[in-house]
Symmetry: C2
Subunit: 321 residues, 2 copies
């Protein structure tokens, strides 16, 4: 076996909700959230109990002005004890900047679809694995405590090439782990996953990668976001990406949110008695900070609209599961 077996120990809380809004969400909207608002929003997210946040990406400011304050955002996020501060980096240069800023975790996107990879980063998937290898070498040499995640985008299908072969997803996942990724997650970038597909692919990922099998980043483009998270949970996945208010994630159509809404995701798990460590009331309150920084931007979420059910109380309190 190439990688360490999966631990039989149940983590506490039961699942880790990884918030991607400050990166994935904010770089998908036209407006740029002012830095002071970003910091207040991150503070509110941390106050709700979230323990991992993708706070920014390290990309050229002229290409993505929304992320120009990445270093300052990381510096602030690092003041929260116990928070895993994560940044997305598309290349070695970005990784150098993120590592210098002091992030705990890097996430590097590797698109499984050739067509999407070329269109997005002008590199083939295997070229991106080579980038990951160089980033891992830099980490090993100078920042040995930092974790690297490879996020396999278009893992469930691609809007450019259609179907994405499952064998190719697994081949690239293994290649990423061998290149030095500590975790390899799967992203349904295009909202094409279904629960059967999700179970099959995460089962294979966990069989092949053992403890390096990473998070489920599902989209709600066609309404299956939570059903797919449930499906992934059923086969052992315990880390889930969400975005507050469903911000970001390349929605296909107006009103059709892309990213899974963190509030709804936390609600599903807590209602099931699966502990997230997130206080749902405080998480809902953090929407105020998000909206303050992006006035007029539509936010999604069924739980925020409908409210919590009568008699709701989170695990450890009086709620009947």
């Amino acid at each position: 076996m190439k990688f360490t077996p999966l631990s039989p120990r149940t983590p506490s809380p039961d699942v880790l909700i990884s918030e991607v809004g400050p990166r994935d969400g904010l770089q998908s909207v036209k407006a740029t959230m002012p830095t002071a608002h970003k910091l207040r929003w991150i503070d509110a997210l941390v106050a709700s109990g979230l323990r991992e946040i993708e706070v920014c990406s390290f990309v050229p400011a002229h290409l993505m002005p929304q992320m120009a304050d990445a270093t300052e955002v990381v510096r602030h996020a690092l003041t929260h004890p116990g928070l895993a501060v994560m940044a997305l980096v598309p290349n070695l240069k970005g990784a150098e900047a993120a590592l210098a800023a002091g992030v705990h975790k890097l996430t590097l996107p590797v698109s499984v679809s050739h067509a999407h990879s070329l269109a997005n980063v002008r590199k083939t998937p295997d070229d991106m694995v080579a980038v990951l290898r160089r980033v891992a070498a830099l980490r090993d040499e100078r920042f040995p405590g930092v974790s690297i995640e490879a996020g396999l985008s278009t893992a469930f299908g691609c809007t450019l090439q259609g179907a994405v072969p499952e064998d190719e997803v697994i081949r690239l996942a293994v290649a990423c782990a061998e290149a030095g990724a500590n975790e390899v997650g799967l992203s349904d970038t295009t909202g094409m996953a279904n629960p059967a597909h999700t179970r099959r692919l995460f089962t294979r990922l966990r069989t092949e990668l053992c403890d390096r099998a990473g998070s489920a980043h599902m989209h709600n483009t066609r309404g299956l976001g939570l059903a797919n998270c449930l499906a992934a949970y059923d086969v052992g996945v315990r880390v889930f990406d969400g975005s507050q208010g469903g911000l970001g994630g390349c929605p296909h159509a107006p009103g059709a949110s892309g990213n899974v809404v963190t509030e709804d995701l936390v609600f599903m798990f807590e209602a099931m008695g699966v502990h997230t460590g997130v206080d749902l009331d405080k998480l809902l309150a953090a929407r105020v900070a998000l909206q303050a920084g992006l006035p007029g931007e539509p936010l999604y979420g069924m739980v925020p609209e409908a409210g919590l059910p009568l008699g709701w109380a989170q695990k450890g309190h009086t709620h009947e599961h």
Copy 2:
């Protein structure tokens, strides 16, 4: 064993999608859809491959003018060969009218929550079981081919009384079957179910009622509609209620649809390779007939908004599952 064991035979198609829009949807909106439009909409639903439709309810016209044309709607629906024509009846008088009109199936709502039952029909749950017994006696005597379904509403929680004990749900389900119901389904009237709860309760229902365990009528009030359908499917449920465009189902908040959207439900199953017998393109086309009869009424649905994914083709065609 009181009831016949569940058949090990897999039905073909794999699941039955029961469309409730013409009853549950139309009686929840303020406008009254003109009869000619109802008939065209039902025709379009049948053309998509739906084989069971709750076409109306038999209630006093002064209380619910939207359903005043129930007999005419049933008469038209009966012209479609192979379609199971279903009507909701709240009492013996409604059942007499529905049976006289020639329906194939009656559905009688029995609320598990005392508070909800009293508020809704001014009867206790056990009084409703007594009504069901009288309806079944009438059926046995004069309409022996007609099937009776009891729909246990507020089975997963109630907005008036909060939690609803699972033992009480099962007790009433058994009482309904003993009173003559051929099927007993569970309704998440208030959008309070979660996947764990759904699995637990349907597992108990199927254990107790065997082949009389009925459909899952889930709501999407808090975004869990499809996840709960998946959960029910996982424990063996094969009949699912949906409403085209998410019409009806007592939404709690603007934009928060109540009923599971049939289009999204069919998409989930077909994408998983679970055959519904419904042609999704034709089902999407039926929205035009619905909207024509209810101009300006908001329709929901993620698949209708996002469109079908690239390369989509239903089972039996070229789609890769």
